[in-house]
Symmetry: none
Subunit: 252 residues, 2 copies
DNA sequence: ACCCCATATTGGTCAGGCCAATGGAAAGCA
DNA sequence: TGCTTTCCATTGGCCTGACCAATATGGGGT
C-alpha cells in the first residue's frame, strides 16, 4: 500500500471506491465503457484483488456499474447525473403511456372491482366535481380516481406502474410545466368522461371501461397538445397531427 | 453451499445479501443489534468469509448496517418495503401486467418501428433460437427482444415502464424463484410465438402485434401457473383457474 | 469501585489457487 | 470468400489459509 498517509481512517475498499467514483465523474470511463480488470486495478492501486472486488461491489450496489462475469465491470450510470427518474420525459410520452396502460387497467378493474371499491370510485367522481367548482382546485381527486381504478385490478405491478406514471408528471419538469399551463388555461377534468368510466365499471363491461378511459385520456392528451400548439405555429401543428395519429392507430 | 438449488443465477454475494435483507425485514436483528460474526455467517450459510464480507458491504452501501472494525456489523436501518421496489410482487402480477402493457407497446411499435429496428428484432429472434439450443441458455436475448419492441414505440415512458417490469422479475424473490423453477423444468421461450410477433410488426399491423404479444405472454403466464400448480393441489387449481379467467376477460 | 493487563474475538487485507464465463482470433468447411 | 466452430487468453467468482489491527471481555490489583 503506497499511499497509507492519504487514507482517511476509512477502510481500504471505501478509499478505493471513492477514487473510482472520482474517475467516473471525471469521465475517465464513458457510460457503456469498461473499467480496467480487477488484476489491473489491484496492481495500479497497489491493493489486493479482493479489495478491488469489494470496491467494485460498492459501485455496483449504487448502480454506477454492472459486472459481467468473464467480461468486466461496465459503467451504466455516471455519479452525479440527474438521478431523478423520468427527468427527461415529456408530458406527451407520459400521457400516451397512461392512455394505453390505464385503458387496460380499467378493463381489468371492470371484472375485479368490489362493490366497495366502486362506491369509493363514485365518491371520487363527486369529489372531482367539487374540485372543479373550486377556483383553487387541485387534482387530488382526479389522481385518486385513477389510482383507485388501478388498485381495483388487484395487481400490484399494474398499480405501481400507473402510480409511477402519475408521479412522473411532477418529476418531469416539462410535464409539470405543461400541466400547470393547462390548468392555468382552466382545463379541468371533464366530469362526463369520469362518469362514463364509472358507468362502464359498474356495468362490469371491460371493453366499455377501456374505451371510456382511453377516450378520457385522449381528451387529456388533446388538451396538452392544444397547450403545446400555442407555443409554436406551423411546426407544432404538424407534430401534433402526427402525435394524434399515434395513439389513434392503437387505441382505435 | 447448502442450497445451491435455490440460487437464482446470481452471484453468491448477491444471494446472501438478499437473504440477510429478508432476515432484517423479518426483524431477526433489531435496529442497533449486531449481526453474527463473519466467520459465523460463513459457517451458517456454508460460504467463504470473503463472500460474507461482500454481502455485508452490499448492505453497508445501502445504509442498512454499519461495520465497526473489531466489533461487528450493526443494524442502523431496517429495509422498508419502499426500499426494494417490487419486493412483494408475485410472478403472476408481473407477468399479467406485462401481458397487458407489452401488448399495447407491440401495437404501437407496429406503427412506429424503423426498418433498422425491425432488423434488430429479427436478429434477436435468431439469438433466442441460439439460446434455446444451449442447455445452459439464459434469457438475455428474450429480454432484449421485448425491450427492443418497447424501444420501437419511441415513447420513453412506455419503455421505462416495461423495462422496470423486467427488472422486477429479479427484484421480487418469489418471481425470481418461480422463473428459475420454470427454467429448471426446461421451459424455454417458444420461438414461434416470437416469430409471430415479429411478423405482425413487419406487417405494420397493430392489432395483430398486440394479439401475438399477448398470446406469447399468456403462454408464459400459463407456464408459470403450471410451475405453481405442482406446489399445492386443489387450492392451487382453483386459484389458477380464477387467475386464467382474469387475463382472458381483458385480453380477449 | 476503578484501572490495568492479558486474552479472545472481531473485522481487514493479503497471497495463492482453481474454476466458470466471455470474447477474440485462428482454423476448418462449404 | 464467407460463415461456423474451436481454441485459448483474459476476465470475474469463490475458496483456503495466514497474519495483523481494533475491540470486547474477564480477571487481578489497588
Amino acid at each position: 500500500m503506497q499511499d497509507k498517509s492519504a487514507r482517511v481512517n476509512d477502510r481500504l475498499y471505501q478509499d478505493l471506491a471513492r477514487k473510482l467514483i472520482v474517475e467516473l465523474k471525471e469521465g475517465k470511463y464513458p457510460v457503456g465503457g469498461r473499467l480496467p480488470a480487477e488484476r489491473e486495478l489491484a496492481q495500479q492501486y497497489d491493493v489486493s484483488r479482493p479489495t478491488v472486488r469489494e470496491a467494485i461491489i460498492a459501485l455496483e450496489v449504487q448502480g454506477f456499474v454492472e459486472v459481467r462475469v468473464g467480461s468486466g465491470a461496465y459503467v451504466i450510470q455516471l455519479p452525479g447525473k440527474a438521478d431523478i427518474p423520468g427527468f427527461d420525459l415529456s408530458a406527451f410520452e407520459i400521457t400516451e403511456a397512461r392512455l394505453l396502460f390505464e385503458g387496460d387497467a380499467a378493463a381489468l378493474a371492470a371484472t375485479q372491482a368490489t362493490d366497495e371499491e366502486l362506491a369509493e370510485i363514485a365518491g371520487l367522481v363527486d369529489e372531482i366535481a367539487r374540485e372543479n367548482r373550486d377556483p383553487k382546485g387541485q387534482e387530488k381527486a382526479d389522481r385518486a380516481f385513477h389510482l383507485a381504478i388501478a388498485r381495483a385490478t388487484r395487481n400490484s405491478a399494474i398499480f405501481e406502474a400507473i402510480e409511477r406514471l402519475w408521479d412522473l408528471r411532477n418529476t418531469s419538469p416539462e410535464a409539470a410545466l405543461l400541466h400547470e399551463k393547462a390548468r392555468t388555461a382552466n382545463v379541468k377534468p371533464v366530469l362526463e368522461e369520469h362518469t362514463a368510466v364509472l358507468r362502464a365499471l359498474e356495468a362490469r363491461d371491460p371493453a366499455a371501461a377501456r374505451d371510456a378511459m382511453r377516450a378520457h385520456l385522449a381528451a387529456v392528451l388533446d388538451s396538452l397538445l392544444f397547450a403545446t400548439e400555442d407555443k409554436a405555429v406551423e411546426r407544432a401543428r404538424d407534430a401534433t397531427r402526427a402525435k394524434r395519429a399515434r395513439y389513434r392507430a392503437v387505441a382505435g
